[in-house]
Symmetry: C2
Subunit: 225 residues, 2 copies
DNA sequence: ATCGTATTTTAGGCAAACCTAGAAAATTTT
DNA sequence: AAAATTTTCTAGGTTTGCCTAAAATACGAT
């Protein structure tokens, strides 16, 4: 149990740090270096913020090692992730945003909307369980569906798979995949997995072949058919 | 002409100050006292901010008198007002918010949404020209429709009028009016305008009478039928 | 015109987020 | 096991936005 401590609402910065810790590590420890590059902030800023987050009871922090979320920190991170993913879905389905642009807008809106807004959007959307990128949407109660997907980079030649999720959020990568129709729901057949450089070649439902570099292939999460 | 000066996006605080100056004064001068009470901020903070706004070229400021908007400041204020009013309309019509609750949520969201978001919402709503409180929505080009309404407090006994707009944004007042059906569009007959205390009594379309205090009556804007 | 009150400004502080430069610790390479 | 490199932390500084207390100015009333 954690002290209630009736805190004032947390800032956008605090929220983004918590999401970043959660995003990498789940229950594990996020290194300062990772947070620094992920949040585009100096390591000095990270050190300072981690000390403050510990002060606030949101992370456990050990100097020179990094930070992991407390129960309270995890709850706050999941609350933001829920907002983020519902907002993305809303932007796509109701405002006609292009698939690759929803993330950026959601990154700001997630800090400005109320719980009231969030739940009304959830209702409007019919309580979806995945966002436009295939990521599971945490429940209002903080539960998160288990993921049974595997990276395309680990598939074998001949596998027939369906894209379940795209684990990237930068616009260039999303645009690239979108242009080739490599989005959640698409069915692929694996033509080649090259050990040398990790390039994976797949054929889509229309018989078109696509070659993906190792890093990109690792972020395309699939499930066998 | 004002220097371009390619500024980074303005903060929420700056935006709310600009809206407050615009809200009172139009082209006139807003006194520090007014801004202080409207924004719930100390007069010291107001002095400081007005100096900065002048520095940024957003207001003209004369010590001990107050501030008025420059062209650039006015444009920014109108941009925010447009967002605010479109968001309110959206919250009411698409998310089912109660009439009296839309303002508060819009006050935060107006600072977080992009122009892209704003214009997509405008399109979704069919480019409305009034928000749920009857206030005109500025165009994307910064134009604002002329208002030909008069305060109910200035009406004469026997007048038949239609509510065009409610010029309040605090939830208690809005709830009070909403409960009595005194919202934009409603038609009323003026039964009494009491010189002594300014109380105005009106009869609505269902034959129900309502007495409004002078201040409240002044914020109900009507047009003769 | 002067007094008293109300308003506004100045002075001095504080907290949140960021930064750069340099010191310290950890890790990897030789 | 040193040395070299990388990572992290500390020190000190900046900007934004707020505050209280006290001084300066303006205004309204005698
Ligand atoms: Mn996203
Ligand atoms: Mn964010
Ligand atoms: Mn409003
Ligand atoms: Mn606002």
């Amino acid at each position: 149990m954690v002290e209630p401590k009736m805190s004032q609402p947390l800032s956008s910065s605090v929220g983004d740090y918590l999401k970043a810790v959660w995003g990498l590590a789940g229950p594990g420890v996020a290194a300062p270096k990772y947070l620094s590059s992920r949040l585009s902030v100096s390591s000095a800023s990270v050190s300072e913020m981690l000390r403050r987050l510990q002060e606030l009871g949101l992370v456990e922090y050990e100097r020179y090692r990094g930070a992991s979320l407390t129960e309270e920190g995890r709850a706050e991170a999941l609350r933001l992730v829920r907002r983020h993913r519902l907002i993305e879905t809303f932007l796509l389905e109701h405002l006609g945003y292009p698939w690759e642009e929803v993330h950026e807008e959601a990154e700001r809106l997630e800090h400005a909307v109320s719980d009231n807004f969030t739940e009304r959007v959830a209702q409007l959307l019919g309580h979806p369980d995945r966002d436009p990128h295939g990521a599971p949407i945490p429940g209002a109660d903080g539960t998160l569906a288990r993921e049974d997907s595997r990276p395309l980079s680990g598939a074998s030649v001949g596998d027939r798979v369906r894209i379940l999720r795209v684990g990237r959020e930068d616009t260039p990568a999303l645009t690239h995949l979108q242009d080739r129709g490599l989005v959640p729901g698409r069915v692929l057949r694996v033509e080649e997995v090259r050990g040398l450089d990790g390039v994976v070649t797949v054929e889509d439902e229309d018989g078109v072949s696509h070659a993906l570099g190792g890093v990109l292939a690792a972020s395309v999460l699939v499930r066998g058919l």
